[in-house]
Symmetry: C2
DNA sequence: TTTTGGCACTCTAGACCATAGAGTGCTAAA
DNA sequence: TTTAGCACTCTATGGTCTAGAGTGCCAAAA
């Protein structure tokens, strides 16, 4: 793959990304590589097709990057496309407005990312399991319903209803809350050893029914990434893309984007840094014609959430990557600052 | 409008709703009114068209109900289509599983409604402003960030970040929380008179910075229906409808369904009972080809939230109305029970 | 050896046309 | 009042043709 081929592949990719029309040798010669004739470019393009970087929708159409072509473009050819001042300002303003309210912030982040990338955006916000415990509170809702609230250092907040056979007064609940806070404040959920739990339970023996339920929630599956931490936006942007003119193509993707549980699986579990999955690199059949750019965020080496965009494979990778990276770093920073400030 | 015309209008409507094809006199004669010949039916249909109940997409097509036709059908002709045992079971099971967690419940309700009605579903869940105050809690997040949490009788929970210049210990915060609870527990937000607020402020004079911010939030716009209480589901169902085959028709509706703030405006502020808005009865241009069935829920004469479906005007009104009514009543009951149990 | 102009070839999109089928409205007869 | 019959209208479908875009290949030019 010589320099000229690279230039041609780059030109084809960038032109196709912006016009959504297969690009022919003539276009390349006129718009990008004026020093070469169409014929020369045709020869090179034939090679590029033979090598699998380009494809032809049909004989007399121009060329289109293949998945391999996009992959090469992303890995080698793409130039950085930094955010404009305006875009950065918009993001940062939104971030500072919702500092400390991670749910609202994630929602806003999805919205703004969808808008700037003109794609669908997905944000998985950090659940309580990511931070350390800041406060636990029991509140009486009715005679036998208690609401337990857990707040963590990341500003995440989880509430669970506990139903009791024997009702407790708010005074009792305050006592329980105080004891729980005395033992558990400042700890992360990984720190909740069996020993510790046993000790707390012992001290709360007067309220054993409540205590056992509460501690069960804190240690078990009660505290785990939930569907409520999945935020999606920009679904309508999807339908703007010409590749989804025929609605049948869009439907399976939209079904996926509506399914919080699938998105949770799809987007979590990545290490920090940008992940780009192009077309069938996504194992899901529905995403055969889509690409996903995602980045995890967090701090102290801990992945706490994910932010990403979903769009057609014909996507402005450079822009999307810059955006996702910038926005992920912004959230990481907020989380980090929150954890130093305590 | 004689009986026979009504029968014909009903037949046309129900056939069109289920097939999405304009229906001709022959079909009516064969499938619905076998004792009449197509010619007779043609005459009646011509009348119905003249009177504005039916429309013809073009000369040699069958007839389709006009908005006026749908309206007449809904008001007069429609027969009740009760839910199946299975459907009721599904709804009630979901409800009982999330009893007391109004956000999760609303989310689940939207999902199940969308599924059963095969339309888009929207649920506005009751914000804290609807219930009476159950508990107020301040929790220290960092040196100068306090999180204030308000829980109400409906199980709604609101949290707001308060930033202070002078940091307070969790002990201080517990004191403040206790005082706030002593004064405000059991009251609704309408009960927060200026007098009362002044009294509370006086007692909290030692913490005036925090107190004034907290009380400001409680009394002002801080506590109002927020975008986080809007839950949408079933957007993908929309695209199944043949009227949205051409994506341009669907796009504006999807944009609307993605805009929490617009939905909030659109769906709130109705009295209890079912509201049916057909086509251009919706003032919004985007909904020209859609119908909305919605019902408010709540108890003690107070509207607390709304649940509804959005679909094409060619909608199974009877089914949708039964579903929405049943689901709204279910939520109302849960809220009512919660308020007696206290 | 590389580049380029020229040319024949291929394929699609769009225009145009013809036809089948569905449905109507009208008229006259039952 | 109802109905059979018939002429008429309109759409959807499929076929055919053409213009246009783009290619591949060859032979000449650099």
């Amino acid at each position: 793959m010589n320099t000229r081929k690279k230039e041609i592949l780059q030109a084809v990719t960038e032109d196709y990304v912006s016009t959504a029309e297969p690009v022919g040798s003539r276009t390349i010669s006129r718009k990008y590589l004026t020093e070469l004739s169409p014929a020369t470019i045709r020869n090179e393009m034939a090679d590029l097709e033979y090598e699998g970087y380009l494809e032809q929708p049909h004989t007399s159409a121009g060329r289109v990057p293949s998945e391999k072509g996009y992959r090469f473009y992303v890995d080698t050819l793409m130039r950085d496309k930094p955010l404009t001042q305006e875009e950065m300002g918009k993001v940062l303003q939104e971030y500072s407005k919702r500092r400390g309210e991670i749910q609202a912030l994630s929602r806003a982040a999805a919205k703004i990312l969808a808008e700037l990338a003109n794609c669908a955006a997905v944000v998985i916000s950090p659940g309580v399991q990511c931070g350390s415990i800041k406060h636990i509170q029991m509140a009486a809702i009715s005679n036998d319903d208690i609401m337990m609230i857990v707040i963590t250092s990341t500003g995440a907040l989880e509430h669970r209803l506990i139903r009791l056979r024997n009702s407790l007064s708010q005074n009792d609940l305050d006592v329980v809350s105080a004891i729980l806070n005395r033992h558990l404040r400042g700890l992360s959920f990984a720190d909740l050893t069996r020993q510790l739990i046993r000790a707390v339970k012992a001290e709360l023996s007067a309220y054993s029914e409540l205590a056992s339920q509460a501690l069960e929630i804190l240690t078990s599956s009660g505290i785990c990434p939930s569907e409520e931490s999945v935020h999606t936006d920009g679904i309508a942007n999807f339908l703007e893309q010409p590749e989804f003119k025929q609605i049948e193509r869009a439907r399976p993707v939209l079904r996926l984007l509506e399914s919080q549980s699938h998105l949770l699986n799809l987007m979590s579990g990545y290490r920090t840094g940008i992940t780009v999955r192009i077309g069938s690199e996504n194992t899901l059949e529905e995403l055969r014609d889509c690409s996903i750019i995602s980045a995890s965020y967090g701090h102290a080496g801990k992945v706490m959430g994910t932010i990403g965009v979903v769009g057609p494979t014909r996507m402005d990778y450079s822009k999307a990557i810059s955006l996702v990276r910038f926005m992920a770093e912004g959230i990481s920073e907020l989380l980090e600052r929150a954890s130093f400030e305590r």
